[in-house]
């Protein structure tokens, strides 16, 4: 997979509605050039998942997504035998030779391919998104690492399946725990933070049709202001987008403290954060 330059990456992403900063464009460029996975880290809602989706659109590749969660294991990440189907076959073929049956039920027909195997078996190169990898246990992380290293899977009953094409791999992490050094070494590291007001304004304009430049700029500045406060959960890009939509519905042309106060719950999820922000911004406490 080749892009000519980081600029080309940036333009391509922009054309599908994803607004990258220089860092994002540079790292994606490198990942494609060097065939290395990207580990994208950052707070929730800053466009980590969206980056993978947008990249799939840009490259016209399929997106295969492995959503991680606590307790995710090999059978959900890689493959699993279709036990139910195997059992039924055994019952149906009860009068056959056991050896035949065994050969039969451990064939591809009974294999349930999970995202990782799916990505490896894909004929055309795909984008493989391993989302929120910090949620899995360390052992599962080791499994992922193994797959990322060789791009092949060996299934005892079937043999080794090698990748026929090289996917672009994107792992995301909300950084709720430290990932293993081994995994990090293998990846390019990309930290995405909340966008600066200029980029956020662009994101808002791209994502919320009908939003005026003026309002987008105001929203971006209010967002920066709120993120400077010490909150339990700062508003993410998804929340500023929601807020922009809300303001549009309310036909707001100009944000003032009353409107902000009335709609804070769209931006902030915790009551304590709402109260703190209201105290700081809405009642105009000066410092």
């Amino acid at each position: 997979m080749e892009f000519e330059s980081p600029q080309v990456v940036a333009d391509a992403l922009r054309s599908v509605g994803y607004l990258p900063n220089d860092r994002i464009a540079q790292v994606v460029f490198l990942a494609a050039r060097l065939d290395k996975p990207i580990l994208v880290e950052g707070p929730a809602g800053v466009g980590k998942t969206e980056l993978a989706k947008s990249l799939a659109r840009v490259t016209h590749r399929d997106l295969i997504r492995l959503q991680c969660y606590e307790g995710l294991d090999e059978s959900k990440a890689l493959y699993e035998w279709n036990y139910k189907k195997q059992l039924l076959r055994i019952q149906a073929d009860a009068d056959h030779d056991w050896e035949d049956i065994e050969h039969d039920i451990f064939s591809e027909e009974f294999l349930l391919a999970r995202p990782l195997l799916e990505a490896i078996r894909a004929e055309e190169p795909v984008i493989l998104l391993i989302d929120e990898v910090d949620r899995v246990e360390v052992e599962t992380e080791a499994l992922l690492l193994e797959i990322l290293s060789d791009f092949q899977v060996s299934i005892p009953e079937l043999g080794t399946i090698e990748a026929s094409s090289q996917p672009i791999v994107i792992l995301t992490s909300n950084n709720t725990r430290e990932l293993s050094e081994a995994l990090k070494r293998r990846c390019l590291f990309l930290h995405i933070d909340y966008p600066d007001p200029t980029r956020e304004q662009e994101i808002l304009t791209a994502r919320v049709p009908g939003l005026s430049e003026h309002l987008a700029s105001q929203i971006a500045k209010v967002a920066r202001s709120i993120r400077n406060l010490d909150l339990k959960k700062a508003p993410s890009v998804s929340e500023t987008i929601d807020w922009a939509r809300t303001l549009l519905v309310l036909s707001v042309e100009d944000v003032d403290e009353t409107i902000l106060g009335d709609t804070l719950h769209v931006l902030l999820k915790y009551q304590t954060d709402i109260e703190k922000t209201a105290k700081e911004l809405v009642s105009g406490v000066t410092d």
Binding site: R33, R185, F189, D256, T286
Partner: protein
């Protein structure tokens, strides 16, 4: 290029950033794939290949600015430094008299800031350093000295106010609108400051060489600063790092035990099996209930712990934003609850002030008395402990040779989910002098040396607590 790159990587290692050989090779391959006459592109390339932890970014940026200060920020820019003969900078004009036009420079900077013109800002920042920093070749002073000299003459405070006035204009603006504009102005001024710092660094490097400059700028990584001896600026950096750490701790404490699924749901399994002729091929499980962890922090805030207790209170403050069920206690020779001082929306400064002025933690003489503090703690609050409560005690266990009363910790542990002790002293000092650590450790679920943020992090990462069921407690 290769020479500079290896020197740079060497500097990263010196600064404590772990860089493996695989990553070195990656960075070299990556550099071959890009245009290296663009500083930003080079920066992001090296960052992505060499730095895999956000906390190392500051060390990375410092080293990068030193090692690659001569790479142009944009491809079109000239790479060499201004040589002599293009102005009076060879004889720096400290008094600001003479032909140099300070007002003209200030006006130009003001315009560049008002127009958001980065190119003009950069070239004017260079002119400012040229004229105002009074840099003398070979003089062994650090960059901050020159930065200070330049900024003093630029009177940024006045500049900021002028900009504010300009952007506000004649409008009657609400405090809300002013705030947004003020933050905008601050960001612009900060950009100017960075340009100036950048330019000073460039010149220092040209004068003294990369290695020497890098060495003077090197700081311990924030995670390696000794918490007992941290400076105010260290503490400020730590504050930034504590947030993510407490989020991790929150996630850890809420994490369910290893078991991946809950108990077998017999009824649903049988119902499902009807579809497969009564063969239970698809066992159904109940979903395990997530923990609602309760954390009690009990902090020694005595004089011997001044710096550390400031840090623990920072930690407490950050925790209070994460856990709705956090209670905090402070003690010296007796204990007081300080939970309310860290209530929702309180900033750290005011919380700290209230803890130090309002908390009743001195009963006798203000010398640490762990025994009395724990006894008071247990008699006052012990009945409110529950099998869901994790008690975290922070302190050096230096008890002024008073009765330690270690058994009380055992009793607290009996009523709680776990008692964890974090001690900021090197383990080798425990039980020397008046440290009573060994009276407490056997009664704790676990004890940890936490002298640095790194160790605090290791503690958080490694935390596995007994399940919140009393019957399982050992």
């Amino acid at each position: 290029m290769l020479g500079v790159l290896t020197g740079f990587i060497e500097e990263l290692r010196e600064a404590g950033v772990p860089v493996s050989m695989v990553e070195v090779i990656d960075s070299m391959r990556a550099v071959e794939a890009i245009e290296i006459d663009n500083r930003n592109s080079l920066r992001e390339t090296l960052r992505a290949t060499l730095v895999k932890n956000l906390r190392h970014e500051r060390a990375f940026d410092t080293a990068f600015d030193v090692y690659f200060s001569l790479v142009p920020t944009v491809a079109s820019e000239p790479t060499e430094l201004p040589e002599g003969g293009d102005g009076p900078h060879e004889q720096p004009d400290h008094q600001g008299s003479g032909e140099f036009d300070l007002d003209g420079l200030l006006q130009g900077l003001f315009q560049a800031l008002a127009d958001l013109d980065p190119d003009a800002l950069r070239s004017l920042a260079r002119a400012a350093v040229d004229q105002l920093a009074g840099m003398e070749p070979g003089r062994p002073v650090g960059g901050t000295y020159y930065l200070y000299r330049t900024l003093r003459r630029l009177e940024l405070q006045a500049m900021q106010e002028r900009l504010l006035a300009e952007l506000i204009g004649d409008d009657e603006l609400s405090e809300f609108d002013r705030r947004l504009i003020r933050e905008d102005v601050e960001a612009r001024i900060e950009q100017l400051r960075e340009e100036i710092q950048d330019e000073i660094r460039r010149r220092l490097v040209a004068d003294r060489g990369r290695e020497a400059v890098a060495r003077t700028l090197r700081r311990p990584l924030v995670e390696d600063v000794d918490l007992m001896h941290a400076t105010t600026s260290d503490l400020a950096d730590m504050e930034a790092a504590i947030g993510p750490l407490t989020r991790k701790l929150a996630a850890r404490l809420a994490r369910r035990r290893k078991k991946r699924t809950g108990r077998l749901d017999f009824r649903r399994t049988v119902r499902r099996s009807l579809a497969t002729g009564g063969v239970p091929v698809d066992p159904q499980f109940r979903h395990p209930r997530p923990h609602r962890p309760e954390v009690w922090l009990v902090c020694d805030i005595s004089g011997s712990m001044a710096t550390f207790s400031r840090f623990t209170l920072q930690f407490t403050h950050a925790m209070a934003t994460q856990f709705s069920k956090l209670r905090s206690f402070a003690f010296v020779d007796t204990v007081d609850e300080v939970t309310d001082f860290f209530g929702p929306g309180v900033d750290f400064g005011s919380a700290l002030k209230r803890v130090t002025t309002e908390a009743e933690v001195v009963w006798k003489d203000g010398h640490s008395d762990y025994g009395n503090s724990f006894e008071t703690f247990f008699s006052r609050y012990g009945s409110q402990l529950s099998p869901r409560t994790t008690v975290i005690i922070t302190g050096d266990a230096r008890n002024n040779y008073r009765p330690p009363r270690g058994k009380i910790i055992g009793e607290i542990a009996q009523s709680a989910r776990a008692v964890v002790w974090l001690n900021p002293e090197p383990m080798a000092y425990w039980d020397t002098g008046d440290s009573a650590m060994s009276h407490y450790s056997p009664h704790c679920t676990s004890v940890h040396e936490v002298r640095t943020l790194r160790q605090l992090e290791e503690f958080v990462e490694g935390l596995t607590l007994p399940a919140g069921i009393p019957a399982l407690k050992g």
